[in-house]
Amino acid sequence: MNWLDPLRYSFMTEALMVSALVGTVCAVFSCYLVLKGWSLMGDAISHAVLPGVVVAYLVGIPLPVGAFAAGLLCATATGWIKASTRIKEDTVMGIVFTGMFAFGLVLFTKVETDAHLSHILFGNILGIERDDLIQTVIAAVVTLGIVLAMRKDLMLFCFDTAHARAIGLNTTMLHYVLLALLSGTIVASMQAVGIILVVAMLVTPGCTARLLTDRFDRMLILATASSVIASCLGVYVSFFVNGATGACIVLAQALLFAAAFLWHQRRRSRFSV
């Protein structure tokens, strides 16, 4: 088989483009997520969108709308329970997202049959349909646009919330904006990598970039670059090994992270001598 073979199929070129787009959105957002220490929140919301997807399917509204609403519900419920009890935040998140995921699962096994839903879980970038493609692109472009437009405010919020409040930014609003953007990012990527592996897309690029630079602007660029490369590489490789595409993308992310880590170690040992 020729190494250019994949590019001859239109579904492959389409998949490569979609994964690059999704990779970009996730990477930009992951820089904020990593700095804010919200990895678990990413994991939680990505699982919690399941009941939203199932309900949206049952009611007949676009799946991303349901997913987005469920994601926000998870985030607000977590915040509310955390504020009114003494239970640690990570525990609250664990309870809320598993509860929602389990509820979604029970519904899911009841309605069953439709292929759409298992594509939501594991992603189906190679067989993505026209409608889903449009939804994905819209969600990705909107989310990316808002993140880039608000990047200075969000960055300040992640770095020093107290200062952000002191200079008159509405930090409660920013908090929910960040959560909404997180939900949006997850919605954009769920068709591609599936909600179970989205968290990797949301954490790894930011960390890879963090190891390579100490500047936030460069971090954004490096994260995006590594994420896009990994996404395309994953799609490309999965064509040859005939394995799960989402998994291949995540493993490619992990490889890039490992490379960045080795570089970081070598540089550090050189400095400390």
Binding site: S84, T98, L105, V106, A200
Partner: protein, 286 residues
């Protein structure tokens, strides 16, 4: 009346109910430590990280639980090592490692299908559990319970005040590894019942529920274990009637019990804290 007994006429249902109850209890016992230590993300991570072990164990012909356990512990050690070396935040490191492990597991499963299929691993399928698998679950649960009953006081001290534990000469490195191993072991045991995505619920929710109901650790252990076991038993039983995912039913039930405790708990419940606040707002008349 006899309708309610139907599930018990099927041997597979009886097995499923009992095994769910057992695993629910063991996970719940451990969940008291996990919630107090703040290790929810770790629980979630390890329950995903065991997946490649399942696949590899099948390829080399080992019992799945051995492979899964080894994969889980290796993931935990990698996290510890990476965190120390890279200086990244702990939650981020956990996120990277467990998703990579999990992705590796998914890839392996898609390339080399094993006896446990993908759906079983992700969502659990207790109704189809085989007798050898039940045996594995029994062994894991038995060992975990034994270790927990013997060492719970040390683990409590470790969770509460690590510095004091060290100054008394307790080997906190060992206790850390012990807790991680127990976490990995119970995650493996719960894998077939509720699936990788929901194991963390078993490892967090009962402990948090009990924490709302009491201020004593001893009572917390008892309440959590009873809640966990009861939810396991009843959840599996109910799943027969609604014909839905067993794991989903168990976890929904656990979440429901948590919500009830959240609202009605005598001291830390929302109703009571609301009332306290209202009372505080009233003018003092004493």
């Amino acid at each position: 009346m006899t309708d309610l007994l139907i599930p018990f006429e099927y041997a597979y249902m009886v097995k499923a109910i009992l095994v769910s109850g057992l695993i629910g209890g063991v996970c719940a016992f451990l969940s008291c430590f996990i919630t107090l230590k703040g290790w929810s993300l770790m629980g979630d991570a390890l329950s995903h990280a065991v997946v490649p072990g399942v696949s590899l164990a099948w390829l080399v012909g080992l019992p799945f639980s051995v492979g899964a356990f080894i994969a889980g512990v290796m993931a935990a050690l990698t996290m510890g090592w990476l965190k120390k070396k890279s200086g990244l935040r702990e939650d981020a490191v956990i996120g990277i490692v467990f998703t990579s492990w999990f992705a590796l597991g998914l890839l392996l499963l898609s390339l080399y299908p094993s006896n446990l299929n993908l759906r079983t691993i992700i969502f659990g399928n207790i109704l189809a559990i085989s007798d050898p698998d039940i045996l594995q679950v029994l062994i894991i649960s038995g060992v975990s319970i034994l270790v927990l009953v013997m060492k719970w006081r040390d683990l409590l001290l470790y969770c509460f005040d690590e510095v004091h534990a060290r100054s008394l000469g307790l080997n906190t490195g060992f206790l850390h590894l012990l807790l991680l191993s127990l976490l990995a072991a119970t995650a493996v045991a719960a894998l077939q019942t509720v699936g990788a995505c929901l194991v963390v619920a078993m490892l967090v929710t009962p402990g948090a529920t009990a924490y709302l109901l009491t201020d004593r650790f001893g009572k917390m252990l008892v309440i959590a274990t009873i809640t966990g076991a009861a939810c396991g038993l009843i959840g599996a039983y109910i799943s027969y009637y609604i014909n839905g995912s067993t794991g989903g039913c168990i976890v929904v039930l656990q979440t429901f019990v948590f919500l009830v405790a959240l609202v009605f708990a005598p001291k830390h419940g929302l109703l009571n804290t609301r009332r306290q606040r209202r009372l505080a707002a009233l003018p003092q008349t004493s």
